[in-house]
Symmetry: C2
Subunit: 297 residues, 2 copies
């Protein structure tokens, strides 16, 4: 039985190439871990690393990354558009195969307590690992940002692990467990961004749409085109196939056709196979029906 | 880089459970090979084993299966509906990952010559491994069946390897290389088998339809329903998505809706992902975008 955990830390450094390379090297240096994807954004001044392996290897790599980042990044001088609380801003653990969400919650908790003890840094648990309802959503925890966190540490932001004292250089760390997140965009055959914004509003959960879907309408410039940009937080609740159908129907109702889908980063096998099963109306289609699934490590 | 070859031998025994178990055990006994699927049909008196691994492991398992089958099966007393030439009737090698079709052709040829030498049995090469155009299609080679083969061994059926003398107990073996084959059925919301038969005729390659598609119309009894039953011989030529669309369109034109798809046995990852990419209009969607693909052995 393959036992695969994914970890997708977001680090507050997206500009200094040499630093980013050393952070990636810290992850790659851990045997049994594979760095699957790495994306840096200069405006956000932020990098996202996606790596996976068994639980021990993945937590060892996350420790290595944190140790490296704490030596390289100083939040007192960090600037960037993206909200953040710390040098290693958020560390989600994601069950991929042969691992339950409950196990990932336990991994996140053990990891968070160890990080807090090693580095004397405040730790918050979020998403499925949250200890309080108001800490489920990342934006809620991150609202004060690094600059405003110190004065809230004794009131709304008492840490779930570690000291109630800001780590001056590294801020705080948010650690959690969540289902795989898929970033998926749909381009419409119109330059009219209003249509994309309206569809996004109709389908996103926060305005009463599809569960576990975040969506925004964007305007692409070259060529000019409206885009519905989405995060699917839990494809067992709303699949890629459902999202496609709901966007396509609304676009068609507005007299607009759907041009193409765009997948950002990676997606889990089961999310891809859900679309296969939907398109071919296959009942009880499981990953074991795919030949290669028998050869996962 | 994973190097995966699949082998799908068809053996002329589908009734004696103890014999079938011993054949499966012979395959499983080879380290590095995984028996992925095993199906026996009593009417056909025939079993199909699907196993995979690297080239050396897979050929070792195929040798083990043949040695076992030659000890267990006597074609002089074999009866069954399905056309066959021998105890081990056909042994196709299929490239799954990190292996080219040319390599599988070379594997088939080396394996066939070794089998012929070890067992003094006539061997024919078929599909991509065929040495003559009239031996590409399995039904053409198999037409005389075991009972009629002896008298053709010096004329139309001179073996590609081994003696031009029938192995009285085991007949002959057809060995080859082919792309993955997918057995896929579509159920129509009608008991009228004529509609399924007409659609099958329109879409199958042999009557001018879709390339690399074999199709027949069947009548299911419980509940009574028409079914289009297909083999997709090469999904790079005609994908599952195309077949689904073509059957659905023709059914809808006849005022009938499509109820469900049914996949028999296994399918390769790339064939499943083709459907995902088609449904979401993803460009350049490759298996590396699937997280788990990085963890194939």
């Amino acid at each position: 039985m393959p036992r695969l955990v994914e970890c997708v830390p977001n680090v507050s450094e997206g500009r200094r190439r040499d630093v980013i390379d050393r952070l990636a090297k810290a992850i790659r240096g851990v045997p049994g871990v594979r760095l699957l994807d790495q994306t840096s954004d200069v405006d956000h001044n932020r990098s996202v690393f996606t790596f996976a392996g068994d639980a021990d290897a993945v937590t060892a790599a996350a420790h290595a990354l944190i140790t490296s980042a704490l030596g390289e990044i100083d939040m007192r001088t960090h600037k960037g558009e993206h909200p953040r609380l710390g040098a290693v801003d958020v560390v989600p653990f994601v069950p991929l195969a042969g691992v339950t969400m409950e196990e990932c919650v336990a991994i996140a908790h053990a990891f968070g307590h160890e990080v807090a003890a090693r580095h004397q840094i405040p730790v918050y648990f979020y998403a499925r690992a949250a200890m309080r309802p108001e800490r489920i959503r990342l934006p809620d925890i991150r609202k004060p940002q690094y600059e405003g966190l110190a004065e809230l540490l004794a009131t709304t932001h008492v840490p779930d692990a570690g000291p109630a004292v800001l780590h001056a250089k590294a801020g705080a760390i948010v650690i959690g467990a969540r289902p795989p997140l898929i970033a998926f965009n749909i381009e419409l055959d119109t330059p009219d961004v209003k249509i994309a914004k309206r569809i996004a509003k109709e389908i996103r959960e926060s305005s009463g749409g599809l569960p576990s879907v975040q969506a925004l309408g964007f305007e692409l410039t070259d060529p000019p085109r409206a885009q519905v940009s989405m995060n699917l937080l839990d494809t067992t609740q709303t699949s890629l196939a459902t999202v496609w159908r709901e966007v396509e129907r609304r676009a068609n109702d507005a007299g607009v056709s759907v041009l193409r889908g765009e997948l950002i980063g990676l997606l889990p096998l089961d999310a891809a196979l859900q679309v296969t099963a939907d398109a071919l109306k296959l009942e009880n289609f499981e990953r074991s029906r795919v030949i290669e699934s028998h050869f996962l490590e």
